[in-house]
Symmetry: C2
Subunit: 208 residues, 2 copies
């Protein structure tokens, strides 16, 4: 690394709270973690739609999509996975700072990076959703055909096969997509958000 | 880099255009490029305030601030500067996709990375603002004390001193902050945005 320049923090006239006020919402981050095929993207998509229909301003950060842009320089080694999740966490924090609700869907297999993501947000504004489907089920679904290829040795460092997944110790929510339908999970997540006052289930919002 | 997994692009129920519609704006990226001390952050800040007062939803991405988060692993070598700007470009594109207006303030010394940033946006949605102050003036201002340290050899790879700045060939706007005040530059930028229909100078927006 080069000699460090002194980097000065810049403050701005419009604050995070000004932006949130103009958007008429108090932003937060929903972080979906779990194995490939567990249903993270499916749930992020459905919750984002539900929020949008309630006229909340939200944005989905999807691990696969980020790997085609911001994270395209990263592979799947442990170090690269850590960096992948670090960047996702930093971008989720920027999205939150912008005033939008961020929905991050990424495997995020290690507890350390998930805790880092949480540490960037104010208390209570980070909701970890453990999308918990058994490996056998994810492998059976294999909607991207990746498990088959990992088992065949065509893909290395695949989470659940030859790269570890550390189960979250204290997630805000656990969604067992083996037992609940996507719609049921979405209902449960929305109920949690209302219960915690992160979302106001106010039908008048939809009228504006 | 590890063996590449097949990364599948995920599509979502709520589109970029849905988000923009809910925000009642058509987003774009304002990209401020120029030497350290030229006034990029000052102008981004003032334009963001003006947009906010008109009830537009915007977010400033500042190079210095990103270097304390997303880009904290990067130094100031040519390769690191390129990566710094690449990430800024990718995040500006995400912010635009989220429906927000992005104001990116970063030196972005090389034409290639600025063109890359432009290439991520639809035609007409990328506005390059060359904040053009003479090196002597920037050095005289030296508001962060960095030029003095660069001249003293305490900082290496400093743009304008021992690292190059490629002047933009065809920027949408050139702001000479040596001749115009920050308020005059802000007026000129807002006039351009109205002229190009990127912003509607409609007083009724402020009433909602």
């Amino acid at each position: 690394m080069a000699v460090q320049h002194d980097v000065v923090w810049q403050n701005f006239a419009v604050t995070s709270s000004d932006r949130a006020k103009l958007l008429r919402q108090a932003p937060f981050v929903l972080w979906f973690t779990g194995l490939s095929g567990a249903g993270k993207t499916t749930l992020a998509n459905l919750v984002a739609k539900r929020l949008h229909d309630l006229r909340y301003h939200a944005y989905v950060l999807d691990g696969d999509n980020l790997r085609q842009g911001l994270n395209r320089d990263l592979g799947f080694t442990v170090a690269d996975r850590q960096e992948n999740v670090r960047r996702m966490a930093e971008v989720a924090s920027l999205i939150h700072d912008s005033g939008l609700i961020a929905l991050a869907a990424c495997i995020s297999p290690f507890a350390t990076e998930r805790e880092f993501a949480r540490s960037l947000l104010p208390p209570g504004r980070f909701v970890e959703v453990f999308v918990d489907a058994p490996l056998e089920l994810c492998e059976q679904r294999d909607n991207k055909g990746l498990y088959r290829r990992a088992r065949a040795g065509e893909i290395a460092d695949f989470t659940g096969i030859d790269s570890p997944f550390e189960r979250p110790a204290n997630p805000e929510l656990v969604m067992d997509t083996g037992r609940l339908t996507p719609a049921e999970c979405t209902d449960a997540i929305m109920e949690y958000l209302v219960e915690k006052d992160l979302v106001v289930a106010d039908w008048t919002r939809t009228r504006q």
